[in-house]
Amino acid sequence: MNKKLDLFAALAVLTIISIIVYVTARTILLFFVEYTLIESFFAVMLLLGEFFIILHTLGYVVNIARAGSGNKQVFSSGPTGLAEPSVAVLVAARHEPKEVLESTFITLYGLNYKNKTIYFLDDSSEDKYQKEAEELSKTYGLKLFRCRHRHGAKAGIINECLKTLNDKYVALFDADQNPLPDFLKVIIPLLEHDEKLGFIQTPQFYSNLDKGPIARGAAFQQAVFYEYICEGKSTGGSMFCCGTNVVFRRKALLDAGGLDESTVTEDFATSVKLHSRGWHSLYYNHVYAFGMGPESLTGYFKQQFRWALGTISVFKKMIWQLIRHPFSLSPAQWWEYFLSSSYYLIGVALLVMMLCPMVYLLFKVPSYFASPEIYFLVFLPYLILSMSVFYFLLRGRNYKIKDLFLGQLLGQITTTVYMHAALWALIGIRGKFAITEKTKAAAIPYIRLWPQILLIFFGFISVVWGLNRYIYEQEAAILVNSFWTLYNCLLLSSIFYFNREVK
């Protein structure tokens, strides 16, 4: 194990050094080369894109180092066997299929914890669903809660219900989560142990990973996030709430003024408030709930769009908060929140990185790796090092490269969806609350995949054009750019593999 750790440390240090060398070289180059206006535009965009990705890589490496490599964390909890403090378990739903809800309530009912009350927050407006909710409440002894005036979607009804509670703790579950019987028995003693803990978040696990490539890819994306990123954030005191499989101290939630109703990712925005008010959070990295991930490309895109839209709009707010109240969070928390809330801008960064080599090949605008020396000496080592750190560490926790790659592919074809979300968020359009779509769905008509298909089309044209140029110009940079364009095209073309009907 120690040898492995040393190897990791060496890799990490090398990665960071190569990053610094690369960024410095790139920036200096920018100032010394004489560019036209359009060339400078692409060069600056590219540099920003690279900066963005490098910052996130750095954040990732730091989180991994914090999380420790190999073994999962272990916590001490308060003495067990004392009287159980009361817990309100809240499930908010709007127009969910009865089977989905039924499974959830079966498992909540089976929670091995006596002093709990299960609340069904029914936000449905259609008769059929309201009737089902009443039936379910009878069968499983649930307290049915409804709001007279709907506001703020999911966060709204939870806040209304919160006003009526006086339990010490509030557990939140999405309507499609099936907790294991031990959930509260393990989490509550941890909260009892530390008065400053505002909430404890546990992972989400997509148990339908055998239901096709999307479900599998999404499951492993989740795994990457919950396995290392969250552990690292938790160690740094900036683990945010993910909206489900979480237990709040009610006092803390009230102190923050309830859940934030202004975004579609109310969980994330609320965490910022809690941390600003001095509450701590903890991520407990043991799966205590089985959930379901999207199985169709439509479902996946919708989920990612919603997450991206919500987080990027919080990113806007964070910038305001940083300007107005720079001391409301610690520097370490600011750094982590900057990373968390800007993550989905990756769509913009990746798009720039896809477009630049194409622009070079087609129009000779020299932005991307126009000097192959720098590319081979610095960028390539950086790329190889960071990729090996990523795969090496997740292998340490028994993940297979094939599965992780599936998750990466899925991320690549979602680039344009993230781009779309970023635009909406910057303009200030708000999305609607809908839980992730899982079941049957038709494939997306190709006409609606025009952004991806156009990228692939122009990508191939650029490669062909570039290779023709190479015959006459014999410029190494052309080969490098052609290679990257081809690589991006191949990744993108996996969309034809993922986009299929789900039965």
Binding site: G110, N178, P181
Partner: protein, 300 residues
């Protein structure tokens, strides 16, 4: 919390088999003769109201093996389920207590799986018939009587089918919780083309996804029933792939091979290529037929 990754360096998997309805010494030794190792876990099936035979218990432990009881809450003759509501109200407590006392008496590890394959729809205790809530209550009730009888040598196997049938009948709905479970068991068979609804499937096709799901829970895993038919494919290649796959699924700590022809030709008939392959794969240190661990609670 148990650390799921710590024990990886000492990887191993115990052998096990279903040999006969009332297995005796001869069956255990015959298994060793045919496949090179003893079955460390010897499985028997027990109907409601019944007790394991004294002879089987004596022979199994005399051979350094352990008993793996499949306890079926039904009248084994008539295949009729018991009244589960009566069970949770205590109607069968004295029978359950007697069995607990009998197993405690053995004073060595005993594996017990109560109401297996509940995530299917064929048994009267399956969720499809009685619902997950009643199942969990029944399971917990039975286990609590064992707790009262201090039968701590009995290890509880929560044993599921490899596939949820129907699809929404997910096994996780039946999981009674870590206080009630020591091992997760998974059953699965390759029926080949022996049935109109079946097709040839490798071990990995049957078990991989279920393993990935079950491995999330902090419990070691036992393949609690498995075998392959020979119709529609190569049984020798099948068992080779199976025993190699198990080595890659580190949380699997034991398997039980169903070595009797029943609904299909599950048995690895001595002398066949498939039987020789099984013997070949069991060689070496990974598959153990005897508990050599000092800390016996860790390894069954």
């Amino acid at each position: 919390m148990q650390n799921t990754y710590a024990s990886e360096s000492q990887s191993y998997c115990f052998t096990g088999a279903f040999l006969a309805d009332q297995p005796v010494k001869k069956d255990i030794l015959e298994f060793r003769k045919d496949y090179g190792k003893k079955p460390y876990l010897v499985m028997i099936f027990l109907g409601w109201g019944d007790f394991p035979s004294e002879r089987t218990i004596k022979d199994v432990y005399a051979e350094d093996c352990i008993l793996f009881l499949t306890w079926e809450p039904w009248d084994a003759q008539r295949k009729a389920g018991i009244d589960f509501n009566a069970l949770i109200q205590g109607k069968f407590d004295s029978y359950i207590g007697k069995l607990a006392a009998m197993l405690k008496e053995i004073d060595k590890p005993v594996l017990l799986r109560f109401g297996h394959e509940m995530n299917g729809d064929w048994y009267p205790w399956s969720g499809a018939k009685i619902g997950a809530n009643l199942y969990i209550q029944a399971y917990r009730h039975v286990k609590e009587i064992f707790n009262k009888g201090k039968a701590a040598n009995v290890k509880w196997v929560f044993s599921i089918n490899w596939e949820d049938l129907p699809r929404d009948n997910r096994f996780i709905l039946y999981y009674p919780g870590s206080d009630y479970v020591d091992y997760i068991g998974i059953d699965g068979y390759n029926w080949g083309n022996s049935k109109h609804w079946s097709k040839w499937q490798s071990f990995e096709q049957i078990f991989k996804a279920r393993y990935e799901q079950a491995a999330i829970i902090d419990k070691p895993i036992i393949i609690s029933e498995f075998s392959s038919s020979s119709s529609g494919g190569d049984k020798q290649a099948w068992i080779k792939e199976a025993l190699n796959s198990i080595k890659n699924m580190k949380k699997i700590k034991a398997f039980v091979i169903f070595n009797q022809d029943k609904e299909a030709d599950w048995k690895f008939s001595p002398g066949t290529r498939a039987a020789l392959e099984l013997k070949k794969q069991l060689r070496g240190n990974y598959y153990k037929d005897k508990n050599t661990f000092k800390n016996s609670s860790k390894a069954l």
